[in-house]
Amino acid sequence: MDSRARVVLDEADIGRAIRRIAHEIVEKARGSDDLILLGIPTRGVALANRIASAIGEIEGTQVPVGSLDITLYRDDLRLRPARALEITSIPAGGIDAKVVVLVDDVLFSGRTVRAALDALNDIGRPAAVRLAVLVDRGHRELPIRPDYVGKNLPTSHSEQVRVELDEVDGTDRVAILGEVEDGAAG
């Protein structure tokens, strides 16, 4: 990792945040019936799987986990070359009348979540949609608010938040990278 990176969450912190989010989800849903976790690729899917197994430890139930690629619903498609698609897999039985918890690693502008809500709209009609994120770094550009947050992380707009998860990156860590543009030490 970059020497200018400042680690804000380590492996134990991430584990605690996920367990707390799992408790909050179950508490708010009064159990785990009708729950579906949908991760936004790639790290959101890894987080969704971890939250599901934490819920399993609390409730002794198996919450369905899926993956929701939002690429085709992005509002910035025309600003970059066409991107490869990620996997979308909706658990059997669909999302109709279920409580869908969207899971992503970082909440920033809110545009990804907006795209995810549009995608959900085309797939079915959930009873409710909630949002769980590991890190909320602020700077929202849309009226979107998370229901479950691992850590609120005040950042400046020029900083970068990097989430690394064992399933994807081989390590568990959340770090803030300093002002990359001018190369200032973090």
């Binding site: 085709l72 498609l77 066409a82 490869a84 085309d122 079915g124």
Partner: protein
């Protein structure tokens, strides 16, 4: 990638990307809302100078599933029948703001001409030009092969495919030979000597004059339609003889390996290159090829039009 004119232009990575994208887009067909907003506000023109059923409908459906506006232009009943040139037709479409032109033309090279002229700025997708190429057909064939023989992932390395029939007039065969080779498959083209193209020995494939020789050693056999409309000379003595020598009947299917699939790009002449019982048998994947065609064309349109238009 701005245009799709020939499968020769595709690298292995690009071809696999198209197939992977198509695999994800195929799931849209199973949803309650079979539509994606990705190409909202884009205009796709289907410019068909030759008759077509499945290709035109397939492109139209693919564009509509991605929310593009589609204009269908058939040469019959248009100003082309009054003698308008390809250039003037293209300039008209450009003036109307077409973002992509899907062209089928009887002359080989017409899409290339369109893409490399300054007549239009948008993307050009070749939907079959003369006896040259039909790239989206080859892509959907590769997609179908991958689904059945490679569990839907990666390339086609090691797969053996025979393409049988009117190779001389077949744009499907040309596109397939090039694409399947790029994806690592081993292709044998089979035809009577009169229907083997000049210079076929320079193609990246094997050749054979006997369907019976290749049957036991293939994972897939692709039967081509005998294109009577392109045949100005007698290429074989009678259709009965052709059917006996090169047609796929149930006796020949029995000599295929058990896992091998039977493909046909359509439209087929039942009883000519393929017998009706084979066409309707579970070994035949023709209906699935049509379904896969929509996904593959969605993938091509998304990759060509979905992102930022490259500056040229």
């Amino acid at each position: 990638m701005k245009h799709l004119l020939s499968t020769a232009d595709l690298s292995r990575e690009e071809a696999v990307l198209i197939l992977d994208t198509a695999a994800e887009l195929a799931a849209v067909t199973d949803r309650s809302v079979k539509k994606l907003p990705t190409l909202r506000g884009r205009t796709v023109v289907n410019l068909f100078f030759e008759d077509s059923t499945r290709t035109r409908i397939s492109f139209e459906l693919a564009a509509k599933r991605l929310s593009a506006d589609v204009i269908n232009f058939a040469a019959k009943g248009s100003s082309v029948s009054k003698g308008e040139s390809l250039k003037d037709t293209a300039l008209t479409l450009e003036a109307m703001g077409a973002d992509a032109v899907v062209i089928r033309h009887g002359s080989s090279g017409a899409p290339h001409r369109l893409a490399n002229s300054d007549w239009i700025q948008g993307s050009v997708i070749n939907a079959g030009d003369g006896t040259h190429e039909h790239p989206t057909q080859a892509l959907l064939d590769a997609f179908t092969l991958r689904r059945h023989l490679r569990s839907g992932a990666g390339d086609l390395s090691g797969i053996r495919v025979a393409i049988v029939g009117d190779i001389l007039h077949s744009r499907v065969a040309r596109s397939n030979v090039l694409l399947l080779k790029t994806l690592g498959a081993e292709v044998t083209v089979v035809a009577p000597p009169t229907l083997m193209p000049y210079g076929v020995e320079s193609w990246p494939c094997h050749t054979s004059y006997s369907i019976d020789d290749v049957l036991p050693d293939v994972d897939a056999i692709m039967m081509l339609r005998v294109q009577a409309e392109r045949m100005q000379a007698a290429y074989f003595p009678s259709s009965l003889e052709y059917s006996r020598m090169f047609g796929l009947d149930s006796a020949r299917v029995a000599r295929l390996p058990e896992h091998a699939i039977v493909m046909h790009p359509g439209p087929m002449n039942r009883g000519m290159e393929i017998s009706a019982d084979v066409a309707d048998s579970p070994r035949s994947v023709m209906v699935e090829q049509v379904t896969n065609g929509v996904s593959v064309r969605m993938a091509v349109m998304y990759l060509l039009l979905g992102g930022m238009q490259e500056e040229i």
